[in-house]
């Protein structure tokens, strides 16, 4: 082991054994151990999701049919929004690597620039996730369950033999008024119209929505539209069970509640990690500006929070695949 004595050792920073195990500092190694344990938590959650999904006998919602809205736009854009969220997180991971790299050159202004951009990326992701949750919770029209067996012909001529308890989906406009009407709010009423029925809101802002078409298999297969008299047949066979969007008790996306609950828990737990990551980044950002690490002559702290931030990106890569793609 020639050469050992050629380096002077600052004794106070060495471990008891006289060296640094794995050639990393104590803090960095403990960050790695924490991340391994956190990764086991997320791995366990995603495995639980896979277990429930695999053992479910009902159809599981398809990602690109549940997540296909963009803020402020009416059409269908499958997966575009989550792809954007993924991209935001990857970019913020890149800016974090660049902040760490700048720290290795003791380039304070570089660290400030890249860490600042990382924080902004984190806020963008959190905002996107808030919108995503809001959209998931409010839903897109809602559904009702059938009270009896019905046979209907879809617009494309396909005949469906539906059973009691099967879900039927309303469109966005009709469902929007149906929710308060079901809840018995006084300003809402169901009236006959030229083409069938419509829901009307009377009051300061009067709205109305006609029952144009109902949708079958909205989230599980190729969806089919049913309109006119056939739609009325479905509407008249409705049971009292409606679902609008999702909450902890029921959801319009799937028969089983586990789907919505896993969505809330796993994306929520990930979002909580992003949030805490942003908070930690801000604290270190302030310390960088104050020159704490300049005086310390190294920016190892940026590297440690960088590890945490990349981990958040890493988890999202898996969440993205198992919730939205597969």
């Amino acid at each position: 082991m020639g050469g050992e004595a050629t380096k002077s050792i600052a004794k106070d920073v060495l471990w008891g054994g006289g060296r640094s195990p794995f050639s990393v500092s104590y803090g960095k190694m403990m960050m790695w151990y924490f991340l391994v344990s956190d990764a086991l938590t997320f791995g366990g959650l995603l495995t639980a999701y896979g277990f429930v999904r695999a053992s479910s006998t009902d159809a599981w919602p398809i990602g690109e049919q549940v997540f296909r809205a963009l803020p402020g736009l009416d059409g269908e854009y499958p997966l575009i929004y989550v792809a954007l969220m993924t991209f935001i997180l990857i970019v913020s991971s890149v800016t974090m690597v660049l902040a760490v790299e700048a720290g290795h050159r003791n380039d304070k202004s570089g660290v400030i620039r890249w860490l600042g951009l990382t924080i902004i990326g984190g806020f963008f992701f959190l905002g996107s996730q808030a919108w995503e949750w809001s959209h998931f919770i409010h839903g897109s029209g809602g559904s009702f369950l059938l009270a009896e067996n019905v046979t209907v012909t879809a617009d494309d001529g396909e005949v469906f033999n539906l059973s009691k308890g099967d879900p039927v989906f309303m469109d966005h406009h009709f469902g929007h008024l149906a929710e308060p009407w079901i809840e018995g709010e006084p300003n809402f009423s169901l009236v006959e119209s030229d083409h069938g029925i419509k829901l009307v809101e009377i009051g300061e802002h009067s709205h109305e929505a006609e029952l144009h078409a109902l949708t079958l298999n909205k989230y599980v297969e190729n969806e089919s539209f049913v309109s006119g008299d056939e739609a009325m047949k479905l509407w008249n066979s409705r049971s009292g069970t409606f679902a609008f969007g999702a909450n902890m008790h029921d959801n319009e996306y799937a028969i089983q509640q586990a789907y919505a609950n896993f969505f809330f828990f796993i994306t929520g737990f990930h979002g909580f990690h992003v949030f805490s990551g942003v908070v930690i980044n801000i604290i270190i950002f302030i310390m960088v500006i104050q020159g704490v690490f300049e005086r310390r002559k190294h920016y190892e702290m940026v590297e440690k929070i960088g590890l945490y931030w990349h981990f958040v990106d890493l988890v999202w890569v898996f969440v993205f695949t198992f919730f939205y793609l597969v």
Binding site: S55, A83, L98, E101, H104, R105
Partner: protein, 125 residues
């Protein structure tokens, strides 16, 4: 042989600091990895939009390619962005091996039990 695990003059580890030239090389690599991650994500999203879930062999292949692409992306994040690929190999093993062991076993046991009622992996869709 020069020891590389000693903390000297506040420099705490391998590659703890580097020059402007080395930095330029590292930054170039970062942009390369960024390009790869963006490309893989784009491919995944396009495949997700184009292929519909079905009970066909094609879909099974698509599904496995999603998982493989995800693992490739994860490897780039861990080994490049998190710098694990450039750490000592014993650190690499200490991080990766226990994780693979536990999660591999968990996935195996949970998914095979989950499909118990079907009795057959091929019906997976």
């Amino acid at each position: 042989m020069e020891r590389d695990d000693l903390i000297v003059n506040d420099s705490y580890a391998l590659n703890s600091s580097h020059s402007e030239e080395e930095g330029a090389k590292i930054r170039k690599n970062v942009w390369k990895v960024t390009g790869i991650l963006t490309l893989l994500t784009t491919v995944e999203v396009l495949m997700g939009i184009y292929f519909k879930r079905s009970e066909t062999f094609t879909w099974t292949m698509i599904k496995w390619s999603f998982i493989i692409l995800t693992l490739v992306k994860a490897a780039y994040i861990v080994f490049e962005f998190m710098h694990l690929g450039h750490e000592r190999s014993n650190l690499k093993k200490v991080i990766i091996a226990p994780y693979m062991l536990f999660i591999g076993y968990l996935i195996f046991i949970a998914i095979s039990e989950g499909f118990g009622h079907l009795g057959n992996f091929n019906t997976l869709h």
